[in-house]
């Protein structure tokens, strides 16, 4: 397969950046998208050119690092996968593929296709945890009964890998799906009840402070989410927020 790649190149955070076209040949349909970029980079290094910088780590759909906007969609054209799980058989010979970094004010470009997603870490740090005694008297989590339905839902919410596809897909660059998943994973469990009000208020405040947009319920986030985090999480964070506002 022969492809033309239109890739965003940007030297550093303050540089302007522009698209550059590359031709890649002998692309195998069984290659992953990242392996195809590896081939391109090997070729660029051979020619003495600067390779294309892109984020990746586990390459098995768990870490959420490989955040690329491919042909206008986060993680490419397929649903429920990350970029590393996208195979080149999803494209046709002669295609031109546009590859951009995730665009959001809260996700500034560091270099080429790599963006800084530490805003997510700060939202998590603002309340995405439970305070437990770890001094040796830790209570076994399984000793607290949890309804099966709630346990399953909390687990589903906890599968969010924080890749940022929700932000990238949203017309408002909103981080509501991410934040709501991180709120929901505790809101559904008795262990999370104690800090529930403080958690949602602080996390929403941090989310707004980071410069993400508001949610207008377009649903693009959950369509593009590789882990199928549902919109029920957003309804839940809205509920939790209203409840906390009334209580305070």
């Amino acid at each position: 397969m022969k492809l033309t790649l239109k890739i965003w190149r940007q030297k550093n955070a303050s540089a302007k950046g522009a698209f550059k076209n590359y031709n890649v040949e002998d692309v195998d349909g069984d290659m992953s998208f990242l392996e195809m970029l590896d081939v391109l980079n090997a070729d660029l290094i051979d020619k003495g050119e600067e390779p294309v910088e892109f984020d990746h780590d586990c390459r098995e759909g768990i870490c959420g690092s490989c955040n690329l906007q491919i042909n206008g969609r986060p993680h490419g054209p397929k649903r429920h996968i990350t970029t590393c799980q996208l195979h080149m058989r999803s494209f046709n010979d002669g295609d031109t593929i546009v590859i951009e970094p995730f665009r959001a004010t809260a996700f500034p470009v560091i270099k080429d296709l790599v963006v800084d997603r530490s805003a997510f870490d700060r939202i998590q740090q603002a309340g995405g945890y439970i305070s437990v005694n770890t001094s040796g008297n830790t209570i076994d989590a399984n000793s607290i009964p949890v309804e099966k339905e709630n346990a399953d839902e909390a687990f589903n919410s906890a599968t969010c890998i924080g890749c940022g596809a929700c932000v990238a897909a949203c017309v408002n660059a909103s981080a509501m799906l991410f934040t709501s998943a991180k709120v929901s994973q505790f809101a559904l469990l008795p262990q999370g009840e104690v800090e529930a009000s403080r958690r949602v208020m602080n996390m929403v405040e941090q989310m707004d402070k980071e410069g993400f947009g508001g949610c207008s319920n377009t649903g693009a986030c959950y369509i593009e989410c590789p882990k199928d985090i549902s919109l029920e999480n957003i309804a839940r964070i809205n509920r939790e927020y209203l409840k906390a506002s009334v209580e305070s």
């Binding site: 951009e100 909103s174 929403v204 947009g213 377009t218 693009a220 839940r236 809205n238 209203l242």
Partner: protein, 219 residues
């Protein structure tokens, strides 16, 4: 209190639901113009002269409309800041509806229409009643309404505006429940109702405008 993004959206949803409720009431009165002009005159006269409607509900309604639009613009400006550099290629239609992504456009058209609507009906009514202090004739409403729909350009503007309102309601009505945290086993049924409402009410207003226009031509 409305500094948080969720609080703004909830305020937007509540004011939107209030306007949705008002729209149903407005349509109920307007459809009588097609069925029985005397009933239309009678109900319009009641709405136009009842002190509770005029001095309590009307100011609340105007506040609701102004609040909804101002809040919409504030939210839009904040959302625009969240992505200052857009994508070279953006496939939004693959993951969301046009209506959901362009509420500001459909809202702006509805706002422009409201300007015309106020100019057409509300301003002359206020002058008639409170400036010129004319006698509140019950029989005047239907002829005034019919007269407005003589102009085909006005009818066309009405039709286009209500199509845009259809898009606005298609997303906004159902979305308001999600914003207020309501997403459960009953949501699917409610979504169905909101979608039917989003089509039926604007289509009803379009029907009234077209009926009154073509009915005159046939006489």
């Amino acid at each position: 209190m409305l500094s948080a993004s969720i609080a703004k959206k909830v305020a937007m949803a509540l004011s939107g639901l209030f306007l949705v409720f008002f729209l149903a009431q407005h349509f109920t009165i307007n459809i009588t113009s097609v069925i029985d002009p005397d009933t239309f005159n009678e109900w319009s006269h009641f709405m136009g002269t009842n002190p509770l409607v005029q001095f309590v509900l009307q100011p609340i309604l105007i506040f609701g409309v102004v609040f909804h639009f101002i809040m919409g613009i504030i939210i839009e400006l904040k959302n625009n800041k969240a992505r200052q550099k857009g994508y070279a290629k953006y496939a939004g239609n693959k993951n969301s509806s046009w209506a959901s992504r362009n509420m500001i456009i459909s809202g702006a058209v509805v706002l422009a229409f409201l300007g015309l609507h106020f100019y057409d009906f509300w301003v002359p009514e206020m002058i008639y009643k409170y400036v010129e202090v004319n006698e509140a004739l019950e029989s005047r409403y239907y002829p005034e309404l019919v007269h407005k729909f003589e102009d085909p350009i006005r009818v066309l503007i009405y039709v286009v505006s209500f199509v845009l309102l259809m898009f606005h309601l298609w997303h906004g009505f159902s979305s308001s429940f999600q914003t207020m945290g309501w997403n459960n086993k009953f949501s699917k049924g409610l979504q169905g109702f909101t979608k039917v409402y989003a089509i039926a009410i604007p289509a009803g207003f379009i029907f009234i405008a077209l009926y009154l226009h073509f009915n005159q031509l046939s006489h």
